[in-house]
């Protein structure tokens, strides 16, 4: 049976009946009606309390109260909607920025590799490679022979794993008919088992796969999703890698994208031993692949510590083995005076290289958004304080009417909860967007979906904010007490010294933080300017570049291919000149080694490096680039395999290795002395790897004269839009080989700008946060001052009635904010020194103590303070004394 809940009214009626019955009875006992009624009531006690208890009974009293508080809060916030919107937006920006930066930081710096027990994994590093070797990275890569020795003899490790990309960027693959590109690595047989990466589908590799150089491949979960739409029947299908068929045998665990620094590997194959699949996609060096070449240190190594062995013990055990292995095939021992390389182990817990690449900028960004959040919170607290001070009378009245402190507190917390949750919801949306932008920046291809850590972080911030906002104004709300309701004078109740001191402190703090942020932003923006305006040393406009990986087998075949290609491209309309190069300019790649000069490794005074960057290029290389030839000549078509070998060097090379002589006619060549070239030209220093590099000695070989053919990059100088030539160029290439794609076609300028993309985005973000800080500070300052002036209307009225001039009133108000500005600058500048020092590694062409940045920051802060004060100041001066006094 369904029974309706009994109404409060019914209950009230019952009590009424009780009182009447009781009174009747008392009357019968002889009391007069008046007294009987009074007695009955007294006996009963508080009717209201009983009714209240009835009302609260069987209800979710707290929920009821919450709903009431929420309604009340929303109503009172709607009354001051400008305040509410300002608060919510401020919070959204502050918290959103923090969440975004934190989620990237979480992803990049805090998360571990998705492998089992990552704490026991280490990257192998060497202090330097032995002399006479070429490397990919001086400290991070090793030769195959070192790997082979270590994995058999290093007992300190349970597993040693090698991995090496099939190409510097992407490698040509084919699945079905269409040629495409993907990032692939050759890895040890123990790669997946040693790292402890699970394979949700299929299998990993085995030692046998490595020994037999098996034609099998494991693809990443991401690649499986992106390219194969999670085809459940993918196992057993064939993936052609550089035209070599590989059978897909497994899909790696979701989130595992290899151990390459900053990259995301699409597929892995066991270490191979065939020309098409040499490490890094290089052509064999004197016919030797990476496996047979002890002078090419190209493999990265990662190892798992043996059970129960500490890192130090492992290193002690492995060190002598490594030092012996390092010279295998290099004469067995160090050359005279050569220091043997020293092995070290680096934490492999987090993603490789991320910390080095993004650690500092991210930490700086985190600090910046932290400051912005601090400013934002201070702003909101100040707004709340101002608002609640204005409501002091409301609070006093409510206290006088019997509202307890707990009740007031609950209401204030509810109001702040409304603000904080609205702000938080907006912040989340904002953070999602910002995270995507930041993710692009960090080139994190794995998903950046906020995980539990990020959620906890944001909730933590929100809760702190909510409590802070509830507590800060409570003091003011209660300070008045019930009796303040009785006071009517604005002048008497409002110029409480303590409160204004609090507000002043907050404003001063904000101005301090603002100076710091502006200096940081200024330094980074000047860095950005410098990077963008750095002369490259060439005419970069009108240049377009693309890569080719022709299917050629012999050196003469390769030379013929490129000769033919250049000849065809040269006659295209709009093409001014054409050349080719082995390492693409502005790609960050370079070939580094010591070089023979006049038949020997040069002695360099005062310990400067003997490293030379070299490149293999085609005819008219410098003419095409627009690099001035200072002495001698450019390469020409007449430099052929049969003519005397020639080389060209840059100014820095001449200065360091051939000081004080005319370099023309001297010789240079690789440090192993395989061949020697006569220097026929000296060119001006220009940028090679990246925009922010310092000049370094460089030497160029003519491609037709050295016995290597590599995939080359074609550089075209054209009239008009450089990219417009690409369709025509593609047609030319396809006439020669229909299966040949243009690899990464891009203008040369864009290619160079890629090298500073990270710095650019960092500087832009820093600038944005600086701007955000300024806006927040300005609105906060304006709000605080305007509020103070309003509160002092009566006082100003009195002053003006007593004869104060308008100027004096304006000055009175301005002086206030000027003092605060001075305080902000005095504390902010030394703090900014510290920040500048911390930033120094991210700066380019700017000193951490850059005077202009500091000056601009100070001026900026002062201007904001001034502008924010002018309006309230003039308003104060326009106060009509009579009106002001009448507000009493």
């Amino acid at each position: 049976m369904f029974r309706r809940k009994r109404s409060a009214q019914d209950f009230a009626e019952e009590i009424k009946a009780h009182l009447e019955l009781e009174a009747d009875e008392l009357r019968q006992q002889g009391l007069n009606p008046e007294e009987a009624r009074y007695q009955a009531r007294r006996e009963f006690g508080s009717v209201r309390a009983a009714q209240e208890r009835f009302y609260l009974r069987s209800r979710w009293a707290w929920l009821d109260r919450l709903v009431r508080d929420l309604r009340f809060g929303i109503r009172s916030l709607r009354q001051s909607s400008v305040f509410a919107i300002a608060t919510i937006l401020t919070l959204a920006l502050g918290i959103g920025a923090n969440t975004a930066v934190f989620s990237v930081m979480n992803e990049v710096l805090l998360k571990s590799l998705p492998v089992s027990d990552p704490g026991r994994l280490v990257y192998l590093r060497t202090s330097n490679p032995p002399r006479g070797t070429g490397t990919i990275d001086t400290t991070e890569t090793f030769s195959y022979s070192v790997y082979d020795v270590l994995r058999h003899q290093a007992k300190g490790f349970s597993t040693v794993m090698a991995y090496v990309p099939l190409s510097g960027d992407k490698v040509a693959v084919r699945f079905g008919a269409q040629p495409e590109e993907a990032e692939g690595d050759m890895v040890s047989g123990a790669f997946f088992s040693g790292l402890g990466v699970s394979l949700p589908m299929g299998r990993g590799f085995s030692e046998e796969d490595e020994v037999k150089h098996a034609s099998v491949a494991v693809i990443s979960y991401n690649y499986w999703t992106r390219r194969f739409a999670r085809d459940p029947d993918i196992l057993g299908k064939t993936l052609y890698v550089s035209s070599v068929p590989m059978t897909i045998v497994g899909v790696a665990a979701q989130g595992f994208e290899g151990a390459e620094p900053g990259g995301s590997t699409d597929f892995w194959i066991p270490l191979q031993d065939r020309k098409e699949l040499n490490a890094w996609g290089n052509a064999p060096d004197e016919g030797k692949l990476y496996i047979a070449n002890p002078t090419w240190w190209c493999l990265r190594l990662i190892a798992r510590l043996a059970p129960g062995v500490t890192r130090a013990q492992a290193l002690a055990q492995v060190q002598p083995i490594f030092q012996a292995a390092a010279f295998q095939g290099l004469g067995g021992s160090p050359m005279q005076g050569e220091k043997p390389p020293v092995l070290s182990l680096e934490d492999a817990k987090s993603f490789p290289g991320y910390d080095r690449m993004y650690g500092n900028p991210l930490r700086m960004l985190m600090a910046m958004v932290g400051l912005v959040l601090l400013i934002a919170l201070a702003n909101v607290v100040m707004l709340l304080m101002a608002r609640n001070a204005a409501r002091q009378r409301e609070f006093s009245v409510r206290q006088a009417l019997g509202a307890g402190r707990a009740e007031l507190f609950r209401q204030l917390v509810t109001e702040s909860l409304i603000l904080v949750s609205a702000g938080g919801a907006l912040a989340w949306g904002f953070a999602e967007m910002a995270t995507r932008v930041l993710g692009n920046w960090a080139q994190i291809e794995s998903s950046l979906a906020p995980d539990r850590t990020v959620l906890l972080f944001t909730f933590g911030v929100l809760i702190v904010a909510g409590l802070l906002f509830g507590l800060a104004p409570l003091r003011i709300a209660l300070a008045g007490g019930a009796e303040a309701a009785l006071r009517t004078s604005a002048a008497a109740s409002n110029t409480d010294l303590g409160k204004s001191r609090m507000a002043r402190l907050i404003v001063a703090l904000q101005l301090t933080l603002c100076v710091v942020l502006l200096v940081g932003a200024g330094l980074l923006i000047r860095t950005l300017r410098n990077l963008e305006n750095t002369p490259l040393g060439m005419r970069v406009e009108g240049l377009v570049v693309f890569g080719l990986k022709p299917n050629v087998r012999t050196v003469p075949e390769g030379i013929a291919f490129y000769q033919n290609l250049m000849g065809k491209l040269r006659v295209l309309p709009a093409v001014e000149s054409v050349t080719i190069m082995a390492s693409r300019l502005g790609s960050g790649w370079s070939d580094n080694s010591a070089m023979m000069v006049d038949g020997r490794i040069p002695d360099i005074p005062n310990g400067a490096s003997d490293t030379v960057r070299s490149n293999v290029v085609g005819p008219a290389f410098f003419t095409t680039l627009g690099v001035p030839v200072l002495a001698g000549r450019d390469f020409a078509d007449s430099d052929t395999a049969t003519s005397p070998p020639v080389g060209i060097v840059n100014e820095e090379f001449a200065k360091r290795f051939l000081p004080g002589v005319n370099p023309l006619g001297h010789t240079c060549g690789p440090d192993k002395g395989q061949f020697t070239m006569t220097i026929v030209g000296v060119v001006k220093n220009h940028k090679y790897r990246s925009i922010d590099e310092e000049p370094i000695p460089m030497a160029w070989y003519m491609y037709a004269q050295i016995p290597v053919v590599e995939p080359m990059h074609v550089e075209l100088r054209v009239h008009g839009d450089p990219l417009a030539i690409l369709p025509a160029a593609r047609k030319v290439v396809q006439q020669i080989d229909p299966n040949l794609p243009l690899v990464q076609p891009i203008t040369q300028r864009a290619q160079f700008e890629k090298t500073i993309a990270r710095q650019i985005l960092f500087a832009r973000l820093a600038g944005f946060f600086g701007l955000l800080a300024i806006v927040l500070v300005a609105t906060g300052l304006y709000g605080a001052l305007a509020y103070r002036v309003t509160r002092r209307t009566a006082e100003i009225g009195v002053r003006m009635a007593l004869g104060a001039a308008r100027g004096q009133v304006v000055w009175m108000v301005l002086k206030d904010s000027l003092v605060l500005t001075v305080i902000g600058v005095v504390f902010g500048v030394p703090l900014a020194f510290l920040v500048g020092r911390a930033l120094s590694s991210s700066l380019y062409g700017v000193k951490p103590l850059d005077a202009a940045s500091y000056l601009l920051a100070v001026i900026g802060v002062a201007a904001v303070a001034l502008i924010a004060s002018i309006v309230p100041a003039t308003r104060a001066a326009n106060v009509d004394p009579l009106k002001a006094l009448r507000t009493e």
Partner: protein
Amino acid sequence: MPTQENNDDRIALLQGTLDLLILKTLLFGPCHGQGVARSIQRQSEEVLFVDHGSLYLALQRLEDKKWIRAKWGTSENNRKARFYELTARGREQLTEKTEQWNRLTRAMGLILDPTQPPAPEEV
């Protein structure tokens, strides 16, 4: 402001005993709240004092538990009043609670005055 003084011999009810007293009172027939209060006071020779507010809440609680039911009626002196009446479940509860209470008081008695003979069983 006048304050209440506790200068009589009345005892405030122990937590949880009010329900039992109400059920027992209603055993003798339907009654309204005021009657229940009076009855408790009178039966206890004015020793037990029932807070009226609590009484009505207790009545409501018992009604919610379906131990008693209520309907509006007219009192002997023609006043409108809400009459309460025991349900079957209420009777069961009364028996059970009385047993509990007797066990409790006997135990208390044994401890407070061990010379006393055990109290006879009663319902």
